[in-house]
């Protein structure tokens, strides 16, 4: 095949453009899902949580979370009259296999499921030096693992300890609010597996979502409100001792 220098010069840029579109890939669009129509959040009903660990296990299965890391975990608080300020908190293996039986004892016990708070003004996305973590237009804090350098700035910045560096991929990893599920009309894996309905996925932009009535009629709180993170995981009946 004979190609003149002129032909090569014409073909090169065309090939470069073609190669670029190959590199960019085609994002798999979920039909009928419009990001601007949603603003995702979650409701956690503390009095309903029995500490079974179903959510932790389901999350680990659904999202291939490595052992020893958690996108969601459950803590058990034990608050007595003497230790209101620094209660005893346990979370054996993230509460994955449940908790040791608590003897009838002084004080009160309760379970607090924790996860990414999907902050609207999240500290983690603000510190990323390369734009690898961001708040999606539908209000979910996500990590672009192809772009992440693994510098762990965001891991330090999260006031809730919800991020970790994936031991194999060496990039930041966190709860995606099961983005691959909620964009297809399913609920998150943790909500699907919760036997008592202690966790409820909620869409704040959907006027028919029961979250609106719930927020109006219940004593609801977010974690660390003093940090003004715009947290969107709402806790019903949250004890003041929870940090």
């Amino acid at each position: 095949m004979n190609i003149s220098r002129r032909q090569i010069l014409i073909l090169l840029p065309a090939a470069a453009v073609a190669w670029k579109s190959v590199l960019a890939g085609t994002p798999e669009a979920s039909p009928n899902y419009k990001m601007t129509d949603h603003w995702w959040s979650m409701l956690i009903d503390i009095p309903k949580c029995i500490g079974c660990g179903n959510c932790v296990r389901a999350c680990q299965i659904e999202n291939d979370v490595p052992d020893g890391n958690f996108r969601t975990w459950v803590e058990r608080y034990h608050v007595t009259d003497e230790n209101m300020v620094s209660p005893e908190v346990i979370s054996p293996d993230g509460g994955k296999e449940g908790f040791p039986v608590a003897a009838e004892d002084a004080g009160k016990y309760f379970f607090v499921p924790k996860m990414c708070n999907q902050c609207a003004d999240s500290p983690c996305t603000q510190v990323c030096p390369v734009g690898a973590t961001f708040i999606s237009p539908d209000g979910v804090v996500l990590v672009d693992q192809k772009y992440c350098l693994g510098c762990a700035y965001c891991v330090q910045a999260c006031p809730y300890g919800c991020r970790y560096i994936h031991p194999e991929k060496k990039v930041a990893d966190k709860c995606t609010l099961c983005y691959h599920r909620i964009t297809k009309g399913l609920t998150t894996a943790c909500c699907e597996a919760c036997p008592t309905g202690a966790r409820q996925l909620a869409d704040l932009k959907n006027p028919n979502d029961p979250i609106h009535e719930f927020l109006k009629t219940h004593s609801v709180q977010v974690l660390k409100p003093q940090m003004a993170t715009g947290a969107k995981v709402y806790y019903n009946d949250l004890d003041g001792s929870v940090r």
Binding site: S21, G25, P47, G51, H78, V101, Y147, Y179
Partner: protein
């Protein structure tokens, strides 16, 4: 006119800057991903990639579309609001192709105890038992049928 005598050098230097800037622009064009900045300071295509992650839990709607008989029993019992995969585990593979994967029947001794073992930490209104005292070692499903656990439910499975 001594000031402009060496102006040629300045033009060379300026030309170098312009060239470097052009090289920067070209490099930037090729290095920055196409969708960067589509929605904000990040790669817009990352959202689609995230949404493409495969599903492991099929969701109770998928189960109910075939197993409507179980739904009928379950919806009348105490476990009406417990989703199928809360006990049976992630079964999207089975939902996609029932012949590809057969769900394993959960061991009631482990499964029931996980939620119903008595503990002072659990909410007071939640039904709890000390398994050893409660059943004398018998498996839970001797008396309780998991889909409708009340004893007077007539042993419906």
């Amino acid at each position: 006119m001594i000031v402009f005598k060496e102006a040629r050098h300045l033009f060379h230097f300026a030309g170098l800057f312009v060239l470097a800037f052009l090289v920067f622009l070209v490099a930037r064009h090729y290095v920055v991903p196409k969708s960067f900045g589509e929605y904000g300071h990040y790669r817009g295509a990352a959202i689609g990639e995230m949404a493409a992650h495969p599903i492991k839990f099929a969701g109770h709607q998928a189960c109910e579309s075939c197993h409507s008989d179980v739904l009928d029993v379950k919806s009348k019992g105490k476990h009406a609001h417990v989703n199928c995969e809360a006990c049976h585990g992630a079964l999207a593979k089975h939902a996609d192709d029932p012949s590809a994967m057969t769900p394993v029947l959960p061991d009631s001794a482990v499964l029931c105890a996980r939620c119903h073992t008595a503990s002072a930490a659990k909410p007071k209104g939640f039904p709890q038992v000390v398994p050893a005292d409660h059943s004398n070692g018998l498996p839970c499903d001797t008396c309780h049928k998991p889909h409708s656990p009340a004893m007077d439910a007539g042993g419906a499975n």
